[in-house]
Amino acid sequence: MGTEPVHGRLVVLLLFALLTASPAFAQIDLAGSWGATNNEDLAGDSVPVDYTGVPLNPEGRIRALSYNESQYSMIERQCQGLPTFYFVQGPFGIKIWSDTEPVKGTTIAYTVGAWENRAPFVIWMDGRPHPSKYAEHTRGGFTTGHWEGNTLVAYTTHMKAGFIRKVGPPISDETTMTTRFYRHGDVLTVLAIVEDPIYLAEPQIMTRSFQLQTADLSPVGPPCVSAYQGRMPGESVPHFIPEQNPFVDEMTTRYGVPRDAALGMPETLYPEYRKKMKPGAARPGVCTINCVAAPPPANR
């Protein structure tokens, strides 16, 4: 009789261990330096009005057309940085590491390291809730994650307003993002689905693949220092009257892309749009600008 409470406690401890232990087959290792392959999505920011592949709604299109890239000369905007999902768009690799709870050994968070103009992307794995709707929005947003089999799934809120493409298509501060990390050997494919009820007609789907490399990537970016570039703070805000954007035909002239597609009309993202395109019309002869990318830098 004196030993029964001990046995009962033992069973309870076993139950507790089972309930709180992570499934041994659920996770894979994402940590490491993942180099950019830079085989795709390099052309999206070379022409001012290139919204191809971005399913903008009418409000988003007008915002995009009113954008003038001279805003980067504003002292207040020089260090604004890029939204967190830019790591599936930009030319750099990513470094991923995990932070571990020192007693239990469980993962508290994964971090996708920063670049020079992109904040670190921290994925909290400890079940903490997202902040209040009144909380500050940050460049990196607030992200929680969980495993679905061998796929890390992350959900991001509290991002700042910014751009889904650097040339102007906007995202609002109501944007949310779901990111999935798929690892296949030394290839990491990241899927980002961005939802913005303000400016997107439907969720935007982006993917980027990276390759594991032995060269260590920097997890931080260089500092940003603003400087006078011809415009004093508060002096003016460069912008276009949307109907008067002078670059609206450049994609058509340069690459034969129909205007609807250049403006990110949602129907242009689907194969049936080709029925509306004139076959071979205005196909340019020879590439004259941004034709061949340089190999990626050695340490990216």
Binding site: L10, L42, T189, T268, R274, G280
Partner: protein
């Protein structure tokens, strides 16, 4: 009586811990069970109609880019030389050159995936009316002339029993030389294509199919060419519209 109940509870707990290992042991040292057919052991369901969502590289996929626009493709000098021989003004004698296995998943169109048999997954494209057969077999692919879609072997990557998660890996060889990009960027008959098929839920309902394509071609590529394409699942085939290969765009 209380001691028996405690022992019983401990046994139940221990049995729960041991059962998966015991089941695995059957495949190692115990009596060998026949391998499950690929269809029966599929960790994910890839069947159905999927439409390409051209949110990336629009001007390389929906239209033919200008000659010399090889941005992002790590061509060897030989590959660049061959690409530079392309004549945009000339009629394309073989319109299906841009529809080969290394590039077919980048073509704007729909794909239809079905089980051809218990160990072969079949993928049809409406654009170019191409058919790909993914054989789940450890045996070497049958020899034969090179074709646009080559010979593909497949395997599942499962995340583990009960997770309902996994992906498809397909390796394709024996392809006819063709175009990685419509403006004459080549791949050779020595190209090997490794593809990973993953699925994810779409926030508006349905699913997204992500296909990561890795093209190795020592003749024309300095290093692997890796791209990822995405598709949205459709409820049915009502928009399925087969069309022949074309160089029109």
């Amino acid at each position: 009586m209380m001691r028996r109940k405690t022992r019983l509870a401990a046994c139940i707990v221990l049995a729960w811990c041991v059962a998966p290992a015991a089941a695995d042991a059957q495949g190692r040292g115990g009596a060998a069970a026949p391998p499950a057919a690929a269809k029966a052991s599929a960790p994910v369901d890839l069947t159905g109609y999927w439409v390409a969502f051209i949110s990336e590289e629009w001007r390389y996929r929906m239209v033919t880019p200008p000659k010399g626009d090889y941005r992002g493709i790590p061509l060897t000098p030989e590959g660049t030389r061959v690409a530079n021989t392309w004549d945009p003004a000339a009629a394309e004698p073989e319109p299906c050159k841009a529809y080969g296995a290394p590039a077919i998943m980048r073509i704007p169109g729909r794909v239809h995936i079905v089980w051809q048999d218990d160990n072969t997954l079949r993928l049809d494209t409406d654009a170019g009316t191409q058919t790909r057969a993914f054989r789940f077999s450890s045996a070497a692919a049958p020899a034969g002339p090179a074709t646009w879609q080559g010979s593909s072997t497949a395997r599942w990557e499962s995340a583990g029993r009960g997770t309902g998660a996994g992906s498809l890996t397909v390796v394709t060889t024996n392809v006819r030389a063709g175009y990685l990009r419509r403006n004459g960027v080549p791949y050779s008959e020595n190209a090997t294509v490794t593809e990973y098929f993953d699925v994810a839920p779409h926030p508006a309902g349905g699913q997204v199919l992500i296909v990561t394509t890795v093209v190795d071609d020592p003749r024309y590529l300095q290093r692997p060419y890796i791209v990822s394409s995405h598709f949205k699942k459709e409820g049915d085939g009502s928009k399925w519209e087969p069309s022949p290969c074309t160089a029109a765009w």
